[in-house]
C-alpha cells in the first residue's frame, strides 16, 4: 500500500492546477488515493500533504471528517445494510444476519480474502424502498435474506463486475478539461473587482 502511482500523481497535478490554492485539491486527491488502494493509506496521505503543501495531520483531520473515506482496509465490496427506522421495521436485522452467515464475519468485519466488508449504515434515503442495502453505494431495494445470499454469491463469482466496480472507484470515464475550455485558476488575492455577473445586479440593486 503506498503512495500515489506516477499516473495518479500526473492526474493529481492536473487537479491541483484547477484551483487557485493547492490546498483546495485535498478532497479530490483523497478520492484518488481511495480509488487507487480501495482505502486511504497513511503513505498516500503523506504524499497528498507533500503535493498540496500542508501537513499530514491536516490531511488526516480533513479526511476523517467524511464517512465515505476509509482509513483502514476495506473489502473489494463494501456492503452497507441500512439499520435505521423504516428498514429496521421491515427486517434489516434479517438481512444483516443472512449476510453475516453467508460471509462468515460479524457486522463491521472484513472477510479474510479481502472481498467483503460488512457495515450497518444509517438511513440511506430510500426509506420507501425498505429494507435496503448498498454494495459500494449501489442500491438493492426491498430486498430479502434470500436475495442477500444470492447477491453475495453473484459478487463472489464475478457476475456483477460490470455493474459494481471495486470499492473506491470514482468513475469509469475520467473527466478531462481541455486547456481551451478551462477558465483557469485565479489567485483570489488578485481579484480587485466583483465578478462580471455580479456587476449588473450590484448596479441595479440598492446602493
Amino acid at each position: 500500500m503506498a503512495r500515489l502511482t506516477d499516473e495518479n500523481v500526473t492526474l493529481a497535478k492536473e487537479i491541483i492546477d484547477r484551483y487557485p490554492r493547492a490546498k483546495s485539491a485535498l478532497i479530490p486527491l483523497l478520492h484518488i488515493a481511495q480509488e487507487q488502494d480501495g482505502w486511504v493509506t497513511d503513505e498516500a496521505m503523506r504524499h497528498i500533504a507533500e503535493l498540496i503543501g500542508v501537513t499530514p495531520a491536516e490531511v488526516l483531520g480533513t479526511g476523517t471528517f467524511y464517512e465515505m473515506f476509509k482509513f483502514e482496509p476495506v473489502g473489494r465490496y463494501l456492503i452497507n445494510v441500512c439499520g435505521t427506522m423504516s428498514c429496521a421495521l421491515l427486517g434489516a436485522d434479517d438481512l444483516m444476519h443472512a449476510a453475516e452467515e453467508e460471509l462468515g464475519i460479524h457486522e463491521g468485519g472484513t472477510t479474510d480474502d479481502g472481498m467483503f466488508t460488512l457495515h450497518r449504515a444509517e438511513c440511506q434515503a430510500a426509506c420507501t424502498e425498505a429494507p435496503c442495502l448498498q454494495v459500494n453505494y449501489r442500491y438493492r431495494f426491498r430486498t430479502t435474506p434470500v436475495e442477500v445470499r444470492q447477491l453475495i454469491s453473484d459478487l463472489r463469482n464475478g457476475r456483477l463486475e460490470d455493474e459494481i466496480p471495486p470499492h473506491g472507484t470514482l468513475a469509469r470515464v475520467r473527466q478531462h478539461i481541455p486547456a481551451d475550455r478551462g477558465v483557469g485558476a485565479v489567485d483570489p488575492s488578485r481579484v480587485t473587482s466583483p465578478p462580471e455577473w455580479i456587476t449588473a445586479s450590484a448596479e441595479g440593486g440598492a446602493s
Partner: protein, 771 residues
C-alpha cells in the same frame, strides 16, 4: 479611545468600544466577564464552544448570540445576566460536562481550570445526564513534552488554532467527526513544534498538560512572581511559579510590546536546569586532586591575590573577562565598574559569536516597529531557532498584517515560506548579493513604500563577525532611514553592552583575549557565566587559550567544559534566584524576579564584583542590588524604559579571498536545542537536541554513493571532522550546513567547530569519503 469609538450598553452601563471589537472583549474591559472556552484575544474567533452566548439586541429585539463572534455596533444592548442568558450558559455547561470525566482530583488543571471555575460560576449545579461518558485511552503523548487526555477535551479548538494560526505548525488537528471528534497528530508525526508548551497553557481544561509540570503541584501551593525569560534576548514576560523553594514552571504573560503571552519551549522548560545536578554550590579551588570545596573567604582571597599580582606584574592587558550577557543589568553594571576601577580593558560579553557592539550604534527599532514595518529585511540567523518568539511576531506581521520580508540567507529559515523575497548568498558574499538585489526595481519600490527595519545578527558562525557586519553596513548605507533590531542571542547581551561590558575596540574583544591567552599573555582569565570551550566558534583557539591562560577564574551556575579545569570556580546564582532587571534586544528594560534561594552558598554576580572591588580597594558606588538599580535608573535603565546607549558605528573594509582548493561554503548556525548548559541540564529538553550531523544537498549523497546517516569527512584548511550526513534540499551543492554546539562527542562524532578559524573571514571546506 479613538474618535470613531462605538457606544454600546452592557447590563445597563454605557461603554465605548473599538470599532470591530467583539462584544466579549468590550464587555470584559468594562468589567463584565462573559464565560468562554474557545475565545482567546490573540487568536481569531471561531464560535466553537457557545459558552459566551448572551442576549444581544441590535434593534430587532434581544437574541442569544455568541459574544466572541459578534462585533460591537452602535446602540447595541447586551445583557449578560438575563434569565435567558443564564439558561443558555447553564445549558452549554451541562452539555460540555456530559462527556467530561470530572477527574478533577487527579487533574493538573484542578484549581486553575476555566471549566471548573465556570461550571461553578455559570453552571447549573446539577446534570440530567446519567449516560455512560465517552472513553478514550487516558493521556497519550502527542510530543515528548505534551500529553493529551482526550476525555477531558472540550473541543474548543484553541490548541489546534494556536498550532495553525500562531505557530504555523499545524501538526495537531481535529480528526473524526461528531461524538468521535478528537485532537490528534498524524500517526508517527508528533507535535514537535518549538512552541508546543503554549497549548498546555491555553487549554481551558486539563486535556493538554506539559510533562515537566505533571503532578508536581496544585495551584494553591504555588507562589508566583512576574519576571522575564532570559534564555534569549527577546525577553518574554513570564510568571515564575514555585513551591517549596523549587521552580515548577514558567507561564507566559501577555506583554503587548513583546511576547503577546507566548513562550517558546526552550524558554518555558529550561527552568529545570535551575535544580540540576551540575549546579556549583560552593566555591571550588583546583588542587592536585581536582577541585576542592572551600569557603567564600578563601576563594575570594585567592581571586583577589591573583588579580592583584597580575595587575601589578603584567598590567591590565594581562587580565581578560569573557561573558556577562547571561546575567542581569545589575550584574553587568557591577562587573563593568569593577573592570573600569581596575583598568581592565579586555572585557566582552559576547563569545565571538555575535556582531561588533557598533551594531548598537545604528538607529534602532523595537519589536513593535518590526511588526508594523512595511518591509523587514532579514540579515540574521534563523529567528525561529534563535529568537523564537520574535519569529512568532514577525510571522504574524506577514500573515495577518501587511509587512513584507526580504530575507538574505545562506540556507533558508523558518521565515522563508513567509518571505516576499528570499535571496540566497554564499559565505562571505552577502554584501555583493545585497547590492545586486537593491538594484531590482520591485525591491526598490518595496523599500520606499514605508518604514524599513533590518533584523541583524550573525547568520553564520563560520563567517567572521566583520564580514557579516560589513554586509549589514552596506545595507544600512543603501537604504535610507532604515532602523535595526539587533538579533543578538544571549538574554542580556544588549544590557551588558550598554552597561559598559563591551570592548571599546576590537583589540579587547573575546577573539583577541583568547588569542592573547593562547600566546601566554593572559595571567588571569575571568569567565563570567561563559563557556568559550563550548560557545566560541573556533574550538582550537578556545582550547589553546584556556590551556595558555595563567589562571582561569570561572563564575558560573553550572559546571561546564571551560570550568572543568578552572583554578577558581565561584558559584553563581542563576535566573529566578536573583532580583534585578534585564534588557531585551530592543533595549527594553524588564524585571527579573527572585523566586527561589540559591543552592548552597551561590551568590549573584554583582555581589561577587562588589566584594572583589572592596577587597581590591575600590568602591563601586553601590553595595546592594537596589543601589545598583538606582544607578542604572539614573542613566535611563529603569524597568519599563527603553534604554539606548549610543555606540560608535565603525566602518571597515573586509576582503574575502576567492575560493581555492576548498570550494564549498560552510554554514554553521544554532538550532533551538543544543548542548548548551541550560538545555543539556534540563531533562525534558536534553533529548531534543539534533545531535551532530552535517547537511548537504541530496545530490552529494548520490555522488558519494552513501546513505543518510553514514559518515562523511569535512575538511577545511583548519582541520577536519567526521560527521553523519543528512540530505537537505534547501542547500545547493556548494554549501554544507551544520548545527552549532550539538552534543555528540560521546558517539565519537567530529566537531564542526574544529573546521572554523577565527582569523579567516569565511570557512570553506571540501567533502571526502571516509576511508
Amino acid at each position: 479611545m479613538s474618535e470613531q469609538s462605538v457606544e454600546i450598553t452592557v447590563n445597563g452601563k454605557t461603554i465605548s468600544a473599538e470599532p470591530g471589537e467583539m462584544v466579549i472583549a468590550a464587555a470584559e474591559r468594562a468589567g463584565e466577564f462573559i464565560p468562554r472556552f474557545c475565545y482567546h484575544p490573540r487568536m481569531s474567533s471561531v464560535g466553537m464552544c457557545r459558552q459566551c452566548l448572551v442576549e444581544i439586541d441590535t434593534g430587532r429585539g434581544p437574541m442569544l448570540q455568541p459574544s466572541c463572534m459578534v462585533p460591537v455596533s452602535p446602540g447595541m444592548t447586551v445583557d449578560t445576566e438575563s434569565d435567558t442568558t443564564k439558561q443558555a450558559q447553564e445549558g452549554i455547561l451541562e452539555l460540555l460536562l456530559a462527556n467530561h470525566p470530572l477527574d478533577c482530583p487527579v487533574c493538573d488543571k484542578g484549581g486553575e481550570c476555566p471549566l471548573q471555575d465556570q461550571a461553578f460560576s455559570h453552571g447549573p449545579g446539577e446534570s440530567r445526564y446519567i449516560e455512560e461518558k465517552r472513553h478514550y485511552e487516558k493521556p497519550i503523548d502527542i510530543s515528548s513534552l505534551i500529553m493529551l487526555d482526550r476525555e477531558r477535551c472540550v473541543l474548543c479548538d484553541r490548541c489546534t488554532r494556536f498550532a495553525d494560526e500562531v505557530a504555523g505548525d499545524p501538526l495537531i488537528h481535529f480528526v473524526e467527526r461528531g461524538n468521535a471528534t478528537q485532537v490528534m497528530t498524524y500517526p508517527d508525526e508528533p507535535f514537535s513544534s518549538h512552541f508546543s508548551g503554549n497549548t498546555a497553557q491555553i487549554c481551558p481544561v486539563g486535556a493538554l498538560t506539559a510533562k515537566p509540570y505533571r503532578f508536581k503541584a496544585r495551584p494553591w501551593d504555588i507562589e508566583q512572581a512576574n519576571s522575564t525569560c532570559t534564555s534569549c534576548s527577546v525577553g518574554c514576560e513570564i510568571s515564575v511559579h514555585s513551591s517549596r523553594d523549587r521552580v515548577l514552571r514558567y507561564q507566559g504573560i501577555d506583554n503587548d510590546d513583546v511576547n503577546w503571552g507566548w513562550l517558546c519551549d526552550r524558554g518555558r522548560f529550561n527552568f529545570e536546569s535551575i535544580h540540576a545536578e551540575g549546579r556549583v554550590t560552593e566555591p571550588l579551588i583546583k588542587t592536585a586532586d581536582g577541585h576542592q570545596a572551600t569557603s567564600w573567604n578563601a576563594a575570594m582571597s585567592i581571586t583577589t591575590e591573583l588579580l592583584n599580582e597580575s595587575l601589578a606584574s603584567a598590567g591590565a592587558p594581562s587580565v581578560g573577562l569573557i561573558g556577562g550577557a547571561r546575567g542581569t543589568n545589575e550584574d553587568a553594571w557591577a562587573w563593568a565598574r569593577l573592570c573600569t576601577a581596575l583598568g581592565i580593558e579586555r572585557h566582552d560579553p559576547q563569545i565571538g559569536d555575535g556582531l561588533p557592539a557598533a551594531l548598537l550604534g545604528m538607529p534602532r527599532a523595537t519589536i513593535r516597529d518590526v511588526a508594523s514595518a512595511a518591509t523587514v529585511v532579514l540579515l540574521a540567523p534563523d529567528l525561529k531557532e534563535e529568537l523564537p518568539v520574535l519569529y512568532l511576531r514577525l510571522r504574524d506581521a506577514v500573515v495577518n498584517g501587511s509587512t513584507r520580508i526580504i530575507e538574505f540567507t545562506a540556507t533558508g529559515s523558518g521565515l522563508t515560506r513567509h518571505a516576499w523575497r528570499s535571496i540566497r548568498h554564499g559565505a562571505g558574499d552577502a554584501g555583493s548579493v545585497i547590492s545586486a538585489t537593491l538594484e531590482d526595481a520591485d525591491v526598490q519600490a518595496q523599500l520606499s513604500s514605508g518604514p524599513v527595519v533590518v533584523v541583524a545578527g550573525r547568520g553564520n558562525l563560520a563567517t567572521s563577525a566583520d564580514v557579516e557586519f560589513a554586509a549589514l553596513q552596506k545595507l544600512m548605507t543603501a537604504v535610507d532611514g532604515a532602523t535595526v533590531l539587533p538579533a543578538l542571542r544571549r538574554g542580556n547581551v544588549v544590557g551588558a553592552l550598554q552597561a559598559g561590558l563591551g570592548p571599546t575596540s576590537e583589540a579587547f574583544d573575546t577573539t583577541s583575549t583568547l588569542t592573547a591567552a593562547a600566546n601566554g599573555q593572559i595571567e588571569v582569565l575571568v569567565l563570567l557565566g561563559s563557556d568559550p570551550l563550548a560557545d566560541f566558534p573556533d574550538r582550537d583557539l578556545a582550547t589553546a587559550a584556556l590551556n595558555g591562560a595563567g589562571r582561569v577564574v570561572s563564575i558560573t551556575g553550572h559546571m561546564n567544559a571551560s570550568t572543568a579545569d578552572a583554578d577558581v570556580v565561584l558559584p553563581a546564582a542563576v535566573m529566578s534566584e536573583k532580583t534585578g532587571s534585564t534588557t531585551n534586544l530592543e533595549g527594553r528594560v524588564l524585571p527579573v524576579a527572585k523566586k527561589v534561594n540559591t543552592p548552597g552558598v551561590a551568590r549573584p554576580d554583582w555581589m561577587i564584583a562588589v566584594e572583589l572591588a572592596d577587597r581590591l580597594g575600590h568602591d563601586l558606588g553601590a553595595s546592594s542590588v537596589e543601589g545598583i538599580s538606582e544607578q542604572l535608573m539614573s542613566v535611563g535603565a529603569g524597568v519599563g524604559s527603553v534604554w539606548r546607549v549610543p555606540f560608535q558605528a565603525s566602518a571597515q573594509e573586509v576582503s574575502v579571498a576567492p575560493k581555492g582548493g576548498y570550494d564549498i561554503d560552510l554554514i554553521v548556525s544554532r538550532v533551538m536545542y543544543d548542548g548548551g548548559v541550560a538545555t543539556a541540564s534540563s531533562p525534558s529538553l536534553a533529548g531534543l537536541a539534533n545531535g551532530r550531523a552535517v547537511a548537504v544537498n541530496p545530490a552529494v549523497l548520490e555522488q558519494f554513493g552513501i546513505d543518510s546517516g553514514e559518515m562523511i569527512r569535512i575538511v577545511s584548511e583548519r582541520g577536519s571532522a567526521e560527521l553523519p550526513v543528512c540530505p537537505d534540499d534547501r542547500l545547493d551543492r556548494n554549501t554544507v550546513w551544520a548545527a552549532f554546539a550539538q552534543p555528540g562527542r560521546e558517539s565519537g562524532f567530529g566537531d564542526v567547530r574544529s573546521l572554523i578559524s577565527s582569523s579567516a573571514p569565511v570557512s570553506r571546506v571540501r567533502i571526502e569519503r571516509v576511508p
